[in-house]
Amino acid sequence: MLFGMYVIFHGHYSPGGGFQGGALLASSIILIRIAMEEKVHQLHFNKAYGIPLGAVGVLIFFGVGFISLIMGGYFLDYSLLPFPGMITAELRFYGILLIEVGVGLAVMTILVAIYDNLLEEDDDESI
């Protein structure tokens, strides 16, 4: 999980980014689900949060784009984000970081949600 965070937040300096980091985070959660029994593995990440948190991730991305649209620029034009006291290059830096966090959150939660749905199907068939 720590490595997944590292991959997301160091996407500016080394290979990586939201998709790869999100997949690593999802793999950490799914490994816990494989290893533990049913009562325990939901403690870290309840399966009811899967789809809603994915929607939040998409909305972070879309919201960052839409804020810059409201501030008078183009869609996803980070140079107009309303953070005070920053030059254009820094604003774009943090804009990219924000959307990478959104992508990572969405990828992680959606992968875990797909795993949960498939697993529920298996449980029903075994009963």
């Binding site: 996407g11 500016h12 300096y13 080394s14 290979p15 980014g17 939201g18 998709f19 899967g50 789809i51 994915g54 929607a55 991730g57 998409v58 991305f61 879309f62 784009g65 869609f75 996803l76 980070y78 254009t88 290059a89 820094e90 774009r92 830096f93 804009g95 990219i96 959307i99 990478e100 959104g102 992508v103 969405a106 990828v107 939660t109 959606i110 992968l111 949600a113 797909i114 749905n117 498939l118 529920e120 199907e121 029903d124």
Partner: protein, 104 residues
């Protein structure tokens, strides 16, 4: 029919291998992809990215700048595709489960 399938696959593989010999070498500075001016005489977008990625976004990794800034709309589409995959999985599996429960 089976032999026809295998033969068509083999012919297509040979065709692809033959086409791969015509590709320029990786990192060849004289290849058409790496020129600053395209065939039609207009400047290529990638040279702009290479020159201005560090200046524009303060980011040493050029790939991140292209993915997150210049082509951010494409990345938004990718994320929406993943989200749609999750939602479709959820809806489809839940519907199957409900139908089975109704039968019993």
């Amino acid at each position: 029919m089976k032999y026809l399938t295998f033969m068509s696959i083999g012919v297509f593989a040979l065709l692809l291998i033959y086409a791969a010999y015509g590709l320029p070498y990786r990192g060849d500075p004289n290849a058409l992809v790496n020129q600053e001016i395209s065939l039609t005489g207009t400047p290529v977008a990638s040279s702009y990215y290479i020159e201005n990625a560090m200046k524009d976004a303060n980011t040493p990794n050029m790939v991140t700048t292209v993915l997150g800034d210049y082509r951010a709309f494409d990345t938004l589409g990718e994320e929406v595709v993943i989200f749609a995959a999750g939602i479709i999985c959820f809806l489809l599996l839940n519907r199957e489960r409900k139908r089975e429960a109704r039968k019993q």
